[in-house]
């Protein structure tokens, strides 16, 4: 019944007849930290110079179109910085009076920037870091996660594997800390959904260039050898967060099996082929505006700014506290081209969302899978659940 009272209350707030709009100027910033990186395995994954920023441009347009009817204007500035420059870049954003900041950075930098922004009363949206700790013991009250966690991504893959009855997994992990963290998420997912790790191996990152003139020749000889002699398995699960080997796994195994995780069927927030639930319109708007195809990070930034836009539309306030409070409340929901509303977990600031399983060609499936139930929301079958989380900043 409290829901009904809330709805009534919302009714009185939302009615707007065109003449009585209160002007609101919504200023936000996107801060992207660029790291020295090797080229991706596939040119399909080359990072565009405006990665993330392009999502902000579309969000400003989308929010602005709605805002036009309400007297709300949206302006989002974009900033790229090296890890060393990041703090200064944040200070400049804060000095400019902006208190809504979307950050694309690795966990360590993100946390430092979040605390720095928090001291100035700013609200931060995580658009890229997948680390579970950020949603767990290292959570921050002024940090909302639009990017899914490693656990959400791993659970999305695990559910599909279990739905397919591919329960015997051969887990191949990279040797970098980020790969190992993702590998750990897959181990937890296996335990959570009843899959078995019949074999686990680490594929050492020995460095070197991703691009050679001999291309596939060495890979075709080396990978099957690495994969041979494994116990009988249904599927190969790859944990390669640094993108150095998983992309090569399909077709180069010893035993012919599907590959999922960091190679083969990958969990993503969005891909440029996704069309269901009205996503075609999102794709065409994005492509018309940016002259390129969308990457998951563009979508994450777009979604973070849509959270802001939606909240401003409903509450008429662009204050960080008001936005945080509304986003975490039961009243908040948002359509995000994924077939159901996305909402926040009010106990760690993570956005609940379906995860697309993408094979590089099309959306193969979307998790959560049918039959995975949860007492709160099926979306809470993905990622850290409330009883598992050590996050206390939201209490």
């Amino acid at each position: 019944m409290s829901g009904w009272r809330q709805a009534l209350c919302a009714l009185t707030m939302i009615f707007f007849s065109g003449q009585v709009a209160q002007a609101v100027e919504v200023r936000a910033a996107v801060l992207r930290v660029d790291y020295p990186r090797l080229l991706p395995v596939s040119r399909h994954d080359l990072r565009a110079g405006d990665i993330g920023f392009a999502g902000a441009a579309l969000a400003d347009e989308d929010n602005g179109t709605t805002g036009r009817f309400l007297g709300h204007t949206y302006q989002t500035t974009t900033h790229a910085a090296t890890p060393e420059e990041a703090d200064a870049a944040l200070d400049a954003i804060l000095a400019d009076g902006v208190r809504l900041i979307v950050v694309q950075a690795e966990a360590e930098d993100l946390l430092r920037l979040t605390d720095r922004a928090g001291a100035a009363g700013a609200l931060v949206f995580n658009a890229s870091a997948p680390d579970i700790e950020l949603r767990d013991a290292e959570c921050r009250a002024n940090l909302l996660h639009v990017a899914p966690s490693n656990q959400m991504l791993a659970d999305a893959v695990a559910q599909f594997a279990v739905w397919k009855q591919w329960r015997n997994w051969f887990l191949v992990e990279g040797s970098n800390p980020a790969d190992q963290a993702l590998g750990q998420a897959f181990r937890r997912a296996a335990a959570k959904f009843g899959a078995k790790l019949v074999e686990t191996r680490i594929f050492e990152d020995t460095g070197g260039s991703r691009r050679t003139d001999s291309g596939h020749v060495l890979i075709q000889r080396q990978l099957p050898v690495f994969m041979q002699g494994a116990r009988a398995h249904d599927v190969v699960i790859a944990a390669d967060a640094t993108d150095y080997f998983a992309g090569y796994l399909p077709y180069h195994l010893w035993t012919p099996r599907p590959v999922m995780g960091s190679g083969g069927l990958r969990p993503v927030t969005m891909n440029a082929t996704h069309e269901a639930w009205g996503a075609t319109q999102f794709q065409t708007r994005f492509e018309k505006l940016t002259q390129r195809r969308v990457a998951p990070e563009d979508y994450n930034v777009w979604l973070a700014l849509r959270v802001i836009g939606e909240t401003v539309t409903r509450t008429g306030s662009a204050e960080p506290d008001a936005i945080r409070a509304y986003a975490l409340s039961d009243s908040f929901d948002l359509a995000a081209f994924k077939g159901q509303k996305v909402t926040f977990r009010d106990w760690n600031g993570q956005l609940r969302q379906p995860v697309l399983l993408y094979d590089g060609w099309t959306t193969v499936s979307v998790s959560p899978q049918e039959g995975f139930l949860h007492q709160i929301s099926p979306l809470d079958t993905l990622g850290l659940d409330r009883p598992e989380s050590a996050c206390t900043a939201f209490n």
Binding site: L11, F15, T66, G278, Q281, T284, R314, L334, A335, Q340
Partner: protein
């Protein structure tokens, strides 16, 4: 192809005077229109409907069928008797849904990709106006007096009340996430707007000058169905306003709502992913398009019961009926 040939043959054999009513179903994935005899509930034929046919309506005299061929960026026109294609109408890009004014002259079309409502003259086949609206316009309703067209924008989450006189937006009403459909009652005093992702139907009272006031929100609850899957899309109201039928998408049900108390009375189980609805002209039956089970369900309106389902083409989207 075989079934198509077969049904064409059946038509040729059973060609009878056109006394029977017909239902036309747009099959979004099949790129076809299925024609159903609404007396015998037999499929009469299925014909090519352009690329990605979605919104579908008929001229007031029942002679012309208009179809939003979304991927062709135009409105295709067919003869409801012969199924021959007539000259198309310009629609602007990606037309999804539209509404024809009572006189049949102007068609108001939602262009999903361009944040526009396009007004097309069906006689001169020219575009009269383009009206900027919110992001991803979709639902289109027209007031019974023809003075207002209501467009819903799926990402902006508003119902825009457009004057059909000067094409200016007179009122904007914020509703819940992803509004899909707008339906006036026959007396024009009330408007229902469905919100697919929000899971609600917003009810507005309409004043004499057309001004809306939100009075209620209908919510839905079905035991054993996840609330996430209760996604209202198509809405139809009986002539007397006493019953409101709401298609609930992946919940595979049509809700029956009391038009007075606005209480949900019942949920009728239909096919999978039910989107659009239309009454037969006598309002004895309500038809629902079930996109994931490739059929339509026939609901007996008085009994409020599903009485049969009819296989149609692939991914049925919209439906319209004639006498």
């Amino acid at each position: 192809m075989k079934t198509l040939l077969l049904s064409t043959a059946l038509v040729a054999l059973g060609l009878s005077p056109a006394l029977a009513g017909k239902a036309f179903v747009s099959n979004e994935r099949g790129n076809t229109i299925t024609v159903i005899d609404t007396d015998t509930w037999e499929v009469i034929t299925e014909f090519a409907g352009g690329n990605r046919p979605r919104g579908i309506t008929v001229s007031p005299d029942g002679k012309k069928l208009y179809v939003c061929a979304s991927d062709d960026d135009l409105v295709r026109v067919f003869d409801t008797e012969t199924y021959e294609e007539l000259p198309s109408l310009p629609s602007g890009p990606d037309p999804e849904l539209f509404v024809l004014e009572q006189s049949g002259k102007r068609l108001f079309i939602a262009n999903e990709d361009d944040n526009l409502v396009t007004v097309t003259d069906t006689e001169t086949r020219t575009i009269l106006a383009e009206i900027p609206v919110g992001v991803e316009p979709e639902g289109m309703g027209i007031s019974p007096d023809g003075k207002f067209v209501v467009n819903t924008s799926e990402t902006t989450n508003m119902a825009h009340f457009i004057s059909t006189e000067d094409y200016e937006i007179k009122y904007n009403v914020l509703v819940d996430q992803r509004p899909r459909y707008a339906q006036y009652t026959a007396d024009g005093t009330r408007l229902y707007v469905s919100s697919e992702i929000g899971g609600t139907v917003t009810v507005m009272d309409i004043a004499e000058d057309g001004a809306p006031t939100v009075v209620h929100k209908i919510t839905f609850e079905v035991p054993g169905v996840q609330p996430e899957w209760l996604q209202p899309v198509g809405v139809k109201v009986t002539e007397d306003g006493s019953r409101v039928f709401v298609a609930l998408g992946p919940a595979n049900r049509v809700a029956v709502v009391d038009g007075q108390s606005l209480e949900v009375l019942d949920y009728i189980l239909v096919g999978q992913r039910v989107w659009q609805l239309d009454f037969t002209p006598d309002q004895k039956y309500l038809l629902s398009t079930n996109g994931n089970s490739n059929d339509i369900t026939v609901i007996d309106v008085a009994a409020e019961k599903a009485v049969r389902s009819i296989a149609v083409g692939q991914a049925p989207w919209g439906v319209v009926t004639i006498d």
